[in-house]
């Protein structure tokens, strides 16, 4: 008799409630790209102020789930969803929801650094600019605050008006984080933020995530299990579009309940 649970179709939860309560709750969420289903009946909660990591092998749907949270998947034709997802009580997939307003409450950091071809300060001020804020002092203060928040200030304070494309890869990614937090979002969504970076830059970003923890609720998709173990409070393991196991990071990594999770976290596949 194995010590693992036999039925792989049932998610195993062993989360404890966060100290600040739940921010995002996902219930029975399924998603289709045209005819092919990418997410199967995912249910989970994201605790306020904590870092939640989504791990799993390629194609398991972790990025899709992340992008479903701020409705970035809307750009794709033929997308259908089922189930619900709500942020602080607001139904994200309600037909009346203001998608642009919703996205303003979430910052997103992408796999590859994608600074805009403009100056460093313009990059950071972009979320405010599109909000119609033109007041110079507000913009300046936000830029300084966001850059300090993303630990980039000391490196770029003398060249705020230079093109952001001149920064190094790691700096660009931290700039993107600064841009994501400039609009004071509730949630920070990170889609493999370190996969295009070298180890030193990765370490810096991880330190930064540690610093941001508490102030923001962070959902991070990562391929790197050590990273998930290092930075996250809760970890969700996904496989083939299903949420297999979700719980405290230490439990998921050291004492998984499902055999698949064990195999993945020990590197037997993936």
């Amino acid at each position: 008799m194995s010590r693992y649970q036999d039925n792989p179709n049932e998610t195993v939860y062993h989360t404890k409630a966060g100290p600040h309560g739940t921010l995002l709750s996902i219930e029975g969420f399924s998603l289709w790209y045209g005819a092919s289903q990418a997410l199967f009946d995912v249910s989970m909660t994201v605790e306020k102020g904590l870092v939640t990591a989504l791990i799993g092998p390629s194609g398991c749907g972790k990025s899709t789930l992340l992008r479903a949270i701020n409705r970035m998947n809307d750009l794709i034709d033929g997308l259908t969803t089922k189930g619900s997802m709500s942020l602080d009580g607001i139904d994200i997939y309600s037909p009346t929801v203001d998608v642009i307003g919703l996205r303003k409450t979430m910052g997103m950091v992408f796999q590859k650094p994608n600074p805009f071809p403009m100056s460093i300060s313009d990059n950071v001020a972009y979320p405010l600019r599109v909000d119609g804020i033109r007041d110079k002092r507000t913009l300046e203060e936000t830029v300084v605050k966001a850059l300090k928040g993303s630990a980039l200030w000391d490196e770029v304070k003398d060249r705020l008006n230079e093109n952001a494309l001149g920064l190094s890869g790691g700096q660009q990614q931290r700039l993107c984080i600064a841009r994501a937090i400039a609009g004071e979002p509730d949630v920070l969504l990170m889609d493999e933020p370190c996969s295009a970076l070298d180890p030193v830059a990765t370490a810096k970003i991880e330190d930064l995530i540690d610093e941001l923890k508490g102030r923001y609720t962070i959902v991070i998709v990562t391929h790197n299990m050590q990273q998930a173990a290092r930075v996250s409070d809760n970890t969700a393991f996904m496989y083939l579009g299903k949420l297999i196991e979700y719980g405290e990071t230490s439990r998921v990594f050291t004492n998984p309940k499902v055999e698949k999770t064990m195999e993945y976290v020990t590197g037997r596949f993936g």
Binding site: S63, M72, N114
Partner: protein
């Protein structure tokens, strides 16, 4: 691969596929080529060849190696490129050589003929030819023998003898056997005149308001000073006639048109019309008095000017008296230092670039044509840029990609292949007659039946060309928009920007270099297009420039001159094609340079944008 990223990464995937396709296409031709060659040596292609492939193991036979590496194809590809480059280089060299040398003063040869008479002219070119039997029959036996020894060929030279008013021709072929000797006398002058083309001969005398200076005592310095004074007089007369009198006429015409407008609106016997007529009368009287005054002034100047004359004589002694002010330029062609020649060369270029054409466009300058070409191209770019960019934006960013959009796209691409003359017909029919006709009847009824916008003009020509080039801009813009990375759009959307904000702040600036490339292509095509313009507003000789100092300064309704049409007109519509040939080269050179300069400017602008958006990563 992550499912989430799948559809969004589609673009990059596609491009990768394309690359691999290209990568693969390099191989198959090699095999096909090898197969064909082997098929020749054996009996048939097909299965035999395949077995041949298997039979010859690569690496064993050096011949097979050679084919497998595709060496002959490599040479073929390189050869095609070389042919293309050679054609371009040859074309540019031909245009540059002929265009740049045209204005360099040539020496005048005095040719003594067998018959005892003499001719003088600039050597233009020479060739081998076969004299006809009736010509041969009249020649002395000795010359006949020489020609028959030379396989019935003789050599002849073409001289530009000028003096069209005396000889009725500008050029003369002189066979070598007719020439008994050539000299280059230093007293022979090349005189460029306002009318009748160049005069080649000597200066007999100068009549300066009664004071006669003989050609023998005349110094070159004095000649040039007196000539410069005459040119100044001509300029004054011209300024009175062209500017001041034209201004008065313009005022008068405007007053009359205003009056007619009031008459058309209120009727011939209405109080308004009668009042306006009364108001206009004193103004009209002053203007007419001013006109009379100016005309008198011009007549007086002309009368004075007519007293300064120059008497010229050709090599056979035939005399010709012309006004000194009718001389554009004169110089002793055989008595020039190199520096003087260079001076004449540049003064001729300056005349070409800054003056109006003369003598049915075969002489003088092409300034109005340069001006017209530039105006039209810029207006075209102004019209085509917003239309093309907006259409492409909708097609690429907003329209639901499907069968309908594909159909539109195919139509746009096909529009680019419609013969340009069709656009010309459309422009004339729709823009000039329908649109222009309506504009005339609504806004300019007083000028009818003379059309204002109801005929070809600058505006309609620009719009026609804009229509012609809009597919180029649409296609280029669409490509540029598609090339903006998805990550940029997503980054912007994730910041809470709307689709329009994303397009405005991120997509458009990033796509700008590509859009500029499309505009450059469109401008280059538009500037060189002639056929449709002949229908919608280009004329042989435009009396007025489309921009001048009369309100409203830019006259979009005016017909204009165009360098491309000028080439056609000078080269193929003038009385003397031989004399016009150098002008064709020079004008071609100018048109090409103009297109080149416009392109270069846009390319510099584009590269600046590029540097801004594609600064080095890492």
């Amino acid at each position: 691969m992550k499912i989430g990223a799948q559809p969004l990464d589609k673009h990059t995937e596609n491009s990768e596929q394309v690359e691999t396709q290209y990568g693969e296409t390099e191989e198959p031709p090699t095999e096909v080529g090898a197969a064909v060659e082997e098929g020749d040596s054996e009996t048939t292609a097909g299965p035999t060849t395949t077995s041949g492939h298997e039979g010859v193991r690569p690496g064993k036979s050096s011949v097979w190696d050679f084919k497998a590496r595709g060496e002959p194809f490599l040479w073929g590809l390189g050869g095609c490129l070389v042919v293309g480059i050679l054609m371009i280089v040859g074309f540019v060299v031909l245009i540059l050589y002929n265009g740049l040398l045209t204005f360099f003063p040539a020496p005048i040869e005095r040719v003594a003929l067998r018959s005892g008479s003499v001719a003088a002219g600039e050597l233009s070119r020479s060739e081998q030819y076969k004299p006809g039997p009736e010509v041969l029959a009249e020649l002395p036996a000795e010359i006949r023998k020489r020609i028959s020894e030379n396989h019935d060929f003789a050599h002849r030279r073409l001289y530009r003898i000028g003096n069209y008013d005396l000889y009725n021709e500008d050029f003369q072929w002189i066979p070598d056997y007719d020439i008994t000797g050539t000299t280059r006398p230093k007293d022979l002058f090349h005189v460029e005149r306002l009318e009748w083309g160049p005069f080649i001969g000597t200066i007999k005398s100068l009549d300066l308001n009664g004071r006669v200076v003989s050609g023998k005592t005349l110094t070159l310095d004095e000649l040039h000073t007196k000539h410069a004074q005459a040119v100044k007089r001509r300029g004054r007369i011209r300024s009175i006639e062209r500017n001041q009198i034209a201004g008065v006429n313009y005022e008068l015409e405007r007053g009359r048109l205003k009056l007619r407008k009031i008459m058309l609106a209120n009727g011939k016997h209405s109080a308004e019309y009668l009042k306006a007529q009364r108001d206009f009368e004193p103004r009209s009287a002053t203007l007419e008095a001013r006109h009379h005054e100016l005309a008198k002034e011009a007549a007086a100047l002309k009368e004075k000017d007519a007293k300064y004359t120059i008497a010229l004589a050709d090599v056979n002694g035939k005399e010709k008296l012309i006004k000194l002010s009718d001389v554009v330029r004169l110089f002793p062609a055989n008595d020039l230092t190199f520096l003087q020649k260079v001076e004449i060369y540049f003064s001729r270029w300056w005349e070409f670039l800054s003056q109006d054409p003369r003598e049915a466009n075969t002489e003088g300058g092409v300034m109005p044509a340069i001006f017209g070409t530039l105006c039209m191209t810029m207006l075209m770019a102004l019209a085509v840029a917003p239309f093309g960019i907006m259409a492409a934006l909708y097609l690429r960013e907003y329209a639901k990609q499907g069968r309908m959009v594909s159909l539109v796209r195919i139509c746009v691409n096909n529009l680019a292949g419609v013969p340009s003359i069709v656009y010309g017909v459309f422009g004339l029919g729709f823009f000039a007659y329908v649109l222009g006709g309506s504009i005339d009847s609504i806004f300019y009824p007083e000028r009818l039946p003379n059309p204002t916008y109801g005929t070809g003009g600058l505006l309609w020509a620009s719009l026609t060309l804009a229509l012609l080039t809009v597919p180029v801009v649409i296609v280029a813009t669409e490509e540029a928009l598609a090339a903006v990375p998805t990550s940029m759009r997503e980054g912007s959307l994730a910041c809470g920007a709307s689709k329009w904000q994303t397009i405005k702040y991120i997509v458009l600036p990033r796509a700008m270099p590509g859009i500029m490339t499309g505009l450059i292509l469109a401008m280059a095509r538009g500037a060189g297009e002639v056929a449709p313009l002949m229908l919608v507003g280009v004329v042989k000789l435009a009396p007025e420039l489309p921009i001048d100092h009369f309100f409203p300064y830019i006259h979009l309704d005016r017909s204009f001159m165009h360098l491309g049409f000028h080439i056609f007109d000078v080269g193929f519509q003038s009385r003397n094609s031989e004399a016009a040939k150098p002008m064709v080269y020079v004008t071609t050179l100018l048109l090409i340079s103009l297109v080149f300069i416009m392109n270069a400017v846009s390319i510099v602008v584009r590269n600046r944008l590029k540097r801004k958006f594609f600064a080095g990563h890492f």
